[in-house]
């Protein structure tokens, strides 16, 4: 299973979801497949889950989808007990675990290539609905209720190393432009101003 084919399957299922991506393949591939205003393409390590948690806590009636990587989750493991205890019922976390730091270009292994199991860590942190999937059909079965239902879901998708994202044309939309597009979308769909001030 490769990450891109998971994203290809997920993209048509995204409706008014808010989608936050971490870096590298998550940002490049999702940004290529989906140009939705509800995307927030963060592009940094160790931040997407917490930002997604903030969105979910502040807008409990909107489903928030976080697209993370193993390296990014490992950098901020303290997120897992926090998210578990806050327990937002509108948050779906997908960790595309390729077991390497792909950005290094030398495929340096992450801890999940060794003894570390992110599903067990998530469960130990208190996220009850945590699963690991290893093929596309199992991924679809786990992801469908996470995208269409409710609850706090944590899906670890074991994926092969893929360098496809290096061949994709990257969006040149920087984070400021992305922010304003995202915020205006929230204003439009929620019917309220986001940024305050005199103007």
């Amino acid at each position: 299973m490769i990450r891109y084919e998971c994203f290809e399957w997920m993209a048509p299922l995204i409706d008014d979801h808010l989608v936050v991506t971490s870096l590298s393949g998550q940002r490049v591939e999702w940004g290529h497949l989906s140009n939705r205003e509800g995307n927030l393409l963060l592009g940094s390590m160790g931040n997407a889950l917490a930002v997604g948690c903030g969105l979910a806590m502040a807008l409990p009636h909107r489903r928030v989808v976080v697209l993370e990587s193993d390296g990014s989750i490992l950098l901020s493991l303290f997120n897992l007990p926090t998210v578990a205890n806050l327990g937002p019922q509108n948050l779906s976390v997908f960790v595309f675990d390729n077991q390497i730091y792909s950005g290094t270009r030398i495929s340096e292994p992450t801890a999940t290539a060794g003894k570390t199991d992110l599903e067990i860590i998530a469960r130990g942190a208190g996220i009850e609905d945590a699963v690991t999937v290893r093929d596309l059909e199992t991924f679809k079965k786990a992801a469908l209720p996470a995208l269409t239902g409710s609850g706090l879901n944590f899906i670890v998708a074991k994926v092969e190393e893929s360098r496809g994202h290096r061949k994709i044309q990257r969006t040149n939309m920087d984070l400021l432009e992305n922010k304003y597009r995202f915020v205006r979308y929230i204003e439009k769909t929620e019917g309220k101003p986001i940024f305050l001030g005199r103007g």
Binding site: L18, V20, L40, L42, S44, M45, G46, N47, A50, V51, G52, C53, G54, L55, A56, M57, A58, L59, R62, S76, F78, N79, P81, T82, N85, L86, L175, L176, N178, K179, F182, V183, I186, E190, K192, P193, I194, F195, L196, G197
Partner: protein, 168 residues
């Protein structure tokens, strides 16, 4: 922090429009927490690290909350990466309520805190975060309103460093 100062600070936060508070508790300002918890105007979000306190607050800011992040001064160093890569780079209006441990006016200063206090303002300047020092509870309402106005004007994190009478 004395009880009346805590009450004044909590009331000033409410008056400034703050409605979402992420935090990792510490010793100097902790008496504000029960007051915030008891007031339904605030959504309180306990965290395990200041690193996620600022990113959770940044997410909330993007969908209409007026967040504050309450932390000890040491936490500023913990969350600097996250402030840089999310709050500052994206540009999210969040109010940092920082207990200024180890500062000259910290009434509980000791060898454990002074090395941190010595570098706290330098760290904020390095991050290009606007800040003010709050020492006098009589000024806290004005300072919180000013800081909140500034964070909305900049769409960036703004900090208040609490020391002096706030650290009694």
């Amino acid at each position: 922090m004395e009880k009346d100062v805590a009450q004044k600070t909590a009331a000033a936060l409410k008056g400034a429009g703050i409605d979402f508070v992420t935090y990792l508790p510490e010793t100097r300002l902790s008496r504000i927490l029960p007051l915030l918890e008891a007031d339904s105007a605030f959504k309180l979000v306990p965290t395990s690290s200041e690193a996620e306190a600022v990113t959770i607050a940044s997410g909330a800011a993007l969908v209409g909350k007026q967040p504050a992040v309450y932390m000890e001064g040491t936490g500023l160093f913990v969350c600097s990466y996250n402030l840089l890569t999310v709050s500052i780079r994206v540009g999210t209006p969040i109010l940092l309520l920082i207990s200024y441990v180890g500062s000259m006016a910290d009434q509980k200063n000791s060898f454990r805190f002074a090395p941190t206090g010595l570098r706290t303002e330098q760290q904020l300047r390095a991050l290009n975060i606007e800040y003010q020092i709050a020492e006098d509870p009589a000024q806290v309402e004005t300072q919180l309103q000013n800081a909140t106005r500034m964070m909305h004007a900049l769409k960036q994190p703004v900090a208040l460093l609490f020391t002096g009478a706030f650290t009694l």
